[in-house]
């Protein structure tokens, strides 16, 4: 693990607004290296926007994001991104291996074509997610869980230090969910930092060691055992939360 004072992701005073409607208000967030972090909050809390702001995909109205003390633009190579499965057109004419190879495009840079080494890395990543037998499968013929695994493999070939994932468990079956979480935990064991937008409050304590509670404001952020309290949850979800358990 890296020195404790170095931060994998440091978000300071980040405000994002669409028109004049704020989606994120003055967010401060430090993510230490080597944690598996869940971002939770109700619908419209700005979870996806926070990830996109970290990746420079939306322009903040104020504030700053640093990845290991440097701006994102200089740190692209060490950040891997898994967008929401529904964000792409799965009828696009391509196959599984080709989609995974796209993860290598950043390392290749402009114009250069992927070669046999990139293919090997892609195959290796597909093995890791248990999809090695689907390399030539047209992507429209995959189930939701398989599509998610392909996206995960695509992030794995980036060989990043930090992974940002937008709802990787959305619409996947229980087996795939277990496979994905053990993969994420393995990444953390290898010193990677993994940030996951998560919906299911029941599994937060089992899956993650760090949690950020978000509802336009940052309500709380820290180790799950200190942060994932009923008090913080009530503040995040207001009166709407039915789930209450003390651990």
């Amino acid at each position: 693990m890296q020195a404790l004072d170095s931060k994998a992701i440091e978000v300071t005073d980040l405000t994002v607004a669409y028109q004049e409607t704020p989606v994120l208000w003055d967010i401060d967030l430090d993510v230490p290296p080597g944690v598996l972090l869940a971002i939770v909050g109700p619908n419209g809390a700005g979870k996806t926007t926070l990830i996109k702001a970290i990746l420079g995909l939306v322009r903040p109205a104020a504030g700053n994001v640093l990845i290991y003390n440097k701006p994102y633009a200089t740190q692209r190579r060490i950040v891997g991104y898994v967008p929401q499965r529904g964000s792409v057109d799965w009828d696009f004419p391509t196959n599984v291996l080709d989609v995974v190879m796209m993860g290598r495009y950043g390392a290749l840079g402009w114009i250069k074509r992927p070669g046999s080494r990139d293919r090997e890395l892609a195959m290796h990543a597909l093995e890791k997610v248990g999809m090695e037998n689907y390399t030539t499968r047209q992507i429209s013929q995959l189930s939701g869980g398989q599509q998610q695994r392909v996206f995960l493999a695509r992030a794995l070939v980036q060989d990043a230090t930090i992974y940002l994932m937008d709802e990787p468990f959305q619409g996947v079956d229980a087996t795939t969910e277990r496979a994905i979480i053990s993969l994420l935990q393995e990444l953390r064991e290898n010193g990677k930092t993994v940030v996951v937008v998560h919906h299911d409050l029941q599994t937060v304590t089992d899956y993650f060691d760090w949690v950020t509670l978000l509802n336009i404001r940052r309500i709380a952020s820290g180790p799950v055992k200190d942060t994932f309290t009923s008090e913080n949850l009530r503040e995040t979800y207001g009166g709407r939360i039915a789930f209450m358990k003390n651990r």
């Binding site: 028109q19 420079g56 692209r76 196959n95 429209s140």
Partner: protein, 394 residues
């Protein structure tokens, strides 16, 4: 066949290929409406460039049109970003505005010159070979030219020879074809990623915005180049038709690009041939052929064509009915009421089916050997029993 015909075919084939290539990405990006908008909105650019150069064949026209096309895309996107107007409405507002500026400019300042609106809208391929690229002997080494291009030599007056290098449109479209091909080959990976997943492209530093505007510039320039030959309306058929047809036929982007070009060329040749024998507008014939070929492929392509889908649905309907029958027999097998329930003549009453439908299902199941008939009774075969068991387990 006179040489003019060959020229027309060459122009048509080159234009079709040049249009089909960027068209593939427009179809995949669901931006085909944009090509329609661009093809109209570039008119003021052409008119202004024409006022500057007084020539319809100046390369400046293509550049000006390219710039106007990109401007169209920018306007549409600006309107859309306000979130007060949806994309289709933004397109519908932008291109008539720009097109009308062009129309007004022509009617006000250019009504007596050859830049009439009919030609702009419809084009006329038959005249395209008449506008020829000629080079004077002083400009180039004639022997070299002769060897490379082996074009007819024309004696023009005393000492000055001029070489007819073939129709102007062929050169314009040839250059555009090469440009499009080069762009797609060089930026293949970037185009693919920006089309499939623009956010990932952005996070990886492969700017989808640059790719987007690069593609739009090429679409604009190709559109104006094709203008001369097929006009602004039919160029849309060349850009959208072949890629939409190819999209039905393959799951592979490279193959889709190649197929689009091939289909575009086939449409052009058949269309020309049809126009030639029936003496109608060539551009009109090619555009009609584009649609006919699309419909044919739409109907007959294996697995996902309409005929294949319909046949699958019909088969599924009979198979499902057969499964219902088999399960019905299976459920009552060996029970006291079995005899009554399996009587062929009264099956339709038990299942509440039309008698004709019931007898067709029985025949279907008999053919498949899922049941056999013993006197008036239907009896499950081993095969039928297995099917029933499998269906019930699921």
């Amino acid at each position: 066949m006179p040489i003019g015909n060959l020229d027309i075919i060459l122009i048509a084939v080159t234009t079709a290929s040049a249009c089909a290539l960027p068209g593939v990405f427009l179809v995949l990006r669901r931006m085909t409406l944009m090509s329609d908008a661009i093809s109209h909105a570039i008119l003021p650019g052409i008119v202004l460039a024409f006022f500057l150069t007084h020539s319809l064949s100046s390369p400046l026209l293509i550049l000006a049109a390219g710039a106007t096309g990109v401007l169209t895309v920018v306007f549409v996107e600006l309107l859309q970003k306000t979130k007060l107007v949806k994309e289709d409405a933004a397109i519908g507002l932008t291109f008539p505005a720009l097109f009308s500026i062009g129309v007004i400019l022509i009617s006000r300042y250019a009504s007596n010159i050859h830049l009439d609106i009919d030609a702009v809208l419809l084009g006329e391929l038959a005249y395209a070979p008449l506008n020829r690229l000629e080079v004077f002997i002083a400009d180039l080494n004639p022997l070299l030219l002769y060897v490379i291009l082996h074009i007819q030599v024309q004696l023009q007056g005393y000492f000055s020879f001029s070489f007819d290098l073939g129709p102007m449109s062929l050169y314009v479209m040839g250059v555009l074809l090469v440009l499009n091909l080069a762009f797609i080959m060089i930026f293949y990976k970037e185009l693919k990623l920006a089309t499939f997943d623009a956010s990932l492209a952005a996070t990886l530093g492969l700017s989808p915005v640059l790719i987007h505007y690069g593609l739009m510039t090429l679409v604009s320039m190709t559109t104006v180049g094709a203008f001369d030959a097929v006009g602004s309306i039919l160029v849309v058929a060349l850009i959208v038709g072949p890629p939409a047809t190819a999209y039905l036929m393959t799951d592979n982007l490279t193959r889709m690009l190649i197929l689009s070009v091939v289909i575009g060329c086939v449409n052009a040749v058949i269309g020309y041939w049809f126009a030639y024998i029936s003496n109608v507008s060539i551009a009109g014939a090619i555009a009609s052929m584009t649609f006919i070929v699309f419909v044919l492929v739409f109907l007959i392509v294996p697995n996902r064509g309409l005929i294949a889908i319909t046949r699958r649905h019909i088969r599924q309907k009979w198979e499902f009915a057969q499964t219902m029958l088999v399960i019905h027999l299976f459920n009552h097998e060996g029970l006291p009421e079995a005899e009554a329930e399996s009587e062929v003549a009264h099956l339709h009453e038990h299942l509440q089916w039309e008698p004709t439908f019931a007898s067709r299902v029985v025949r279907y199941a008999l053919n498949n050997r899922y049941v056999s008939q013993k006197a008036a009774q239907l009896i499950l075969t081993d095969r039928g029993r297995t099917i029933a068991q499998q269906a019930l387990v699921q």
